[in-house]
Symmetry: C2
Subunit: 102 residues, 2 copies
């Protein structure tokens, strides 16, 4: 399984709007191989959002970026961000709340 | 919901052993309020492990550290780590693969 841990900074006061846009675009992800997609407010930075994701493979993740709802969300969100991102890729070995043996 | 995104560095060559110890200690977590607990190998650091967690509340997370299996895993794992940790707390707003409206 492929894992992605990322953060983004929003322009001041725009975090709730960005979270709403991201959260409204997730309906098609499970069918595209998404096993987990967690959206969070950073506890100690009022303009930062964290997203942690688990996918069946890196290829599933890459392909998902072309889904219409995902493309629309990216287009809507980008002007609300500062351009400061962090990203960490992982190989997920297992845990709680995931399908096992995939 | 409370979120935790952490990483730890293992002593050289000890990552698989640490992952096995962590992964073997998770059985009691769902009943303790754990909604997601994802264990991963860092893709670009062969001695780093990432753990991302979602709990019903910060209090559930804190209380879980006293579970017998969790205490035993921490005791077993600590000598295999370098002491280099990262930690990020979040407020989880939702996503895919989580119970909603909690």
């Amino acid at each position: 399984m492929y894992g992605y841990i990322g953060s983004m900074r929003t322009r001041p006061g725009k975090r709730a709007e960005v979270i709403a846009l991201l959260s409204g675009s997730l309906e098609d992800l499970p069918a595209a191989g998404c096993l987990s997609y967690v959206v969070s407010e950073c506890a100690d930075d009022e303009d930062r959002i964290w997203v942690t994701e688990v996918w069946e493979s890196a290829e599933h993740h890459s392909a998902s970026l072309q889904l219409p709802a995902t493309r629309a969300a990216i287009t809507a969100v980008m002007p609300l961000l500062t351009g400061e991102f962090t990203r960490q890729e992982t190989r997920v070995t297992g845990g709680v709340g995931l399908p096992v043996n995939r």
